[in-house]
């Protein structure tokens, strides 16, 4: 108990975030397992949404590392998701005979997706992060588009001889029994579903673990120092490019892992799924949840992924309601009157709690 009291405010928030994710996972698992047969609380649509929600939560966490912790704007985060999705799916299909266990294969695919996204992150980061200003936003914006076009022209096939790649034109001559994995603009025609809600939950926990432990270490402090004041950070001997790259590449790797998780939960996949709109959607999650606030990102990503589905009844008014909700949330979280009201409320609650404690102390 004493250690809990001595903990800093950040580590308390971090543990609360872990706790929130675990509790929500447990509740949803219970609801899903018990009541679904009786047609209860969790509708099949919602159940189908669980894996994409997990993927978007990891995406939001990953982008929050770039935008909230490092303080650089990335407008092409869906590009990393795309790289992870396609490389991960190809890996999962190719490893079908090597790793028979679906769980281990999913893990391998996620790792491979993350590795490919890491490479993409390094390739972009090294030249761009040396520059100050908004160049990262511009370059990542272009990166998202380039990746989309590249994958739309990529052909990958597999037969007994192994993997075959082709670009622009499909000239792959597959041996008997071979099949195309990625088919140019048609994307991936069939995917064996490997992702599960549990896998998604584990990936969220892993992402939180990496982000919290990174921000709470020497490297993380250097990254946040760059965000707060670059000139001062340089003056205390912090290597700007190194730490910018570290945060950005970690973020790209997490996005790649999220992409693999997402792809392996779908039936089919096309590159245009990961376009500019997806990047902006993830940015909306981050901004709405609060920059640098991980629990905010989780809630925002989950809520905004469910919302369009939940509003299906009002099909015609869906996007309208969505937009109004967004505007309302933004207004409420930024309204000074409301803010001061909430902070005074919090102070009152804290005050009464302290009073109660003081009384308890006297009683002893």
């Amino acid at each position: 108990m004493k250690t809990l009291k001595n903990m800093s405010k950040t580590s308390k928030t971090n543990f609360a975030t872990y706790g929130m994710v675990i509790v929500v996972f447990a509740v949803l698992q219970l609801l899903g397992s018990d009541l679904i047969q009786r047609g209860g609380v969790l509708s099949p649509t919602l159940k189908g949404q669980l894996v994409p929600i997990c993927a978007y939560v990891v995406m939001a966490l990953s982008l929050n590392l770039t935008v909230g912790v490092l303080g650089e704007l990335s407008l092409g985060h869906a590009g990393f998701m795309s790289v992870g999705a396609f490389s991960g799916t190809v890996a999962a299909t190719a490893l079908q005979n090597v790793i028979p266990s679906p769980g281990a294969r999913l893990l391998a695919a996620v790792v491979i997706g993350a590795v490919f996204a890491t490479v993409a992150g390094i390739l972009i980061g090294i030249p761009v992060l040396r520059l100050g200003g908004d160049y990262l936003a511009i370059v990542t914006l272009a990166f998202g588009q380039i990746i989309k076009s590249l994958i739309e022209n990529l052909y990958v096939g597999m037969d007994v001889n192994g993997l075959h790649f082709d670009f622009l034109e499909n000239k792959i001559a597959l041996a008997q029994g071979g099949k195309m994995i990625v088919n140019g603009p048609m994307g991936i025609p069939s995917i064996q579903k490997l992702s599960s809600f549990t896998a998604g939950f584990l990936l969220i926990m892993a992402a939180l673990f990496v982000i919290f432990n990174l921000t709470n270490s020497r490297s993380g402090r250097a990254i946040m120092a760059l965000r707060d004041n670059r000139i001062a950070a340089e003056s205390v001997g912090i290597n700007v490019t190194k730490y910018k790259l570290m945060a950005f590449v970690t973020s790209a790797a997490l996005a790649g892992a999220a992409g693999t998780l997402f792809a392996l939960g779908q039936n089919t996949l096309v590159a245009s799924k990961f376009d500019f709109n997806t990047s902006i959607l993830v940015l909306v999650f981050v901004v709405l949840g609060g920059l640098g606030r991980m629990w905010g990102s989780i809630i925002a990503a989950a809520a905004l992924t469910i919302l369009p589905e939940a509003l299906r009844q009002f099909a015609d008014y869906r996007m309208l309601t969505y937009a109004i909700m967004l505007i309302l949330v933004m207004l409420c979280t930024n309204n000074p009157t409301l803010k001061s009201f909430f902070s005074s409320l919090a102070a009152k609650v804290k005050g009464s709690a302290k009073k109660g404690k003081a009384k308890g102390g006297e009683g002893k």
């Binding site: 800093s8 405010k9 673990f209 990496v210 432990n213 990174l214 709470n216 270490s217 020497r218 490297s219 993380g220 402090r221 250097a222 946040m224 120092a225 965000r227 707060d228 004041n229 000139i231 001062a232 950070a233 340089e234 003056s235 205390v236 001997g237 912090i238 290597n239 700007v240 570290m246 640098g292």
Partner: protein, 284 residues
Amino acid sequence: MSERVKREPTRLVPVPSTNIIPERDVDKTPILECRHLGIDFGGLTAVNNFDMAIGRTEIAGLIGPNGAGKTTVFNLLTKVYQPTRGTILLDGVDTHGKTTVQVNRMGIARTFQNIRLFSNLSVEDNVKIGLHNQINYGMWQGVFRMPGYWKQEKIAHERAMELLSIFDMEAMADAKAGSLPYGAQRRLEIVRALATNPSLLLLDEPAAGMNPSETAELMDNIVKIRDTFGIAVLLIEHDMSLVMGICEGICVLNFGQIIAKGTPDEIKNDPEVIKAYLGSRKEG
């Protein structure tokens, strides 16, 4: 004019013409030596022919009217700007071509005129960021919380608290740096600079916005820092009570040129300095 001055080998004894070094530091290599330092911004010469040497444990002052180029000198020393001409020797080593980060690792730490703290981070984290190069575990050790992390974080915490105790700021360790009162922010900047383990500390208007009693306390603390850490301090300040009170050597800058150099008493009575600060009486 703009071509680089040929570098001479370092001399162990300071150049007599630039000598404002206190007696105890004579015969030791100066910690900082500037020779013919200058920078042009386009056609404007901001600093020219800046010669100065600072002893190993000296408290030196850099004063002058507004716009004289004092902060520019700091920016040249810390390589925020690369000098157009001249040489900077730090402990006898030429800093030509070095970056701000490298110069910091070589031993120059600074504070800023307009406070530049990491305002969203806690006071303790600000100091720990200053300790960045004193601890050396890598990213993976941090992410997976390996033994190196715990060991070095413990050292960093202890060292940060020790440094904060110079200004009696341990109680504020968990506060957000941006929420501190102005005077405390200035003090925290000094602590953060000290955390980088410098051999020369550059203070840019440390007493700005402080009341007389705070200034007096700051003076004591600067002397205390010099004595405990055995480092040199170069400070820019407009508060003459502070400059005359603690500086052993003073350099006066006006329009980018050194107009006087010497002990506080010499500076007080220097006609050039009086003219620069108060203006000359119009004749006839």
